[in-house]
Point group: C2
Amino acid sequence: MKYKIKSRIWIELDGREFLGEGKIRLLKAIDETGSLSKAARSLDISYKKAWNLIDAVNKTTPKPVTINSIGGKGGGGTELTAYGKSLVGVFDDMNRKCWNFLDIQLEKIKSL
Amino acid sequence: MKYKIKSRIWIELDGREFLGEGKIRLLKAIDETGSLSKAARSLDISYKKAWNLIDAVNKTTPKPVTINSIGGKGGGGTELTAYGKSLVGVFDDMNRKCWNFLDIQLEKIKSL
DNA sequence: TTCCGTTATGTCATAACAAACATAGCGAAA
DNA sequence: TTTCGCTATGTTTGTTATGACATAACGGAA
């Protein structure tokens, strides 16, 4: 029998969830592509959905996670703020540690 | 800023998720009440939903988590097998440890 | 001034999911 | 043999989440 314990983590601020795996993926894609629309395409989700996700984050956090510019060379773009990048870093770090921790704990269990 | 890291865990068997928080709650209620219908009522969900949840678990696990009897004194009932009880125990234990671990990890982070 | 790729939103159809309703069978006990 | 509370399902309805379209504005570059 191959049991496995899996987990999902998310970050809350004052009781309101605002960052989970999906949004982290999107933030990373923004960081890589330099624009929200390119990020959405790369993740195969609609621009509108991506925009809604980022909008929800920015409405909850005390500081914005992205800087958005409209028009101009290339039509504009979106990039992560230092705060946004640090959130991604913390999330990834915690996530990795959590998975690791659960794997180790599971091995200690003889029953099942 | 009061950031909090939250988590949900679940148990998979051969890649198929079969036990999460909701089902654990239901298994506990069955253990307390001795019947699926009473458990459903106590959790304020429909009997059908509860039945579907348990059915899904029993279809995935190698051994049944419940023993169901129809008719007779009291109309029948449902009780947990030893295997079912051990699953509940393992889940709760892992869950508590996971929450605790994340809390400790979060305190180590100075940024944010 | 025209064009292009963005950001920024609103609306509407649809699909996925959940809840409500309905019904049947079982077996002990009265 | 009737009643009762339970297990066991199917069907139908309603609600919510998702996706598809549609449109506007912006500003640099050609």
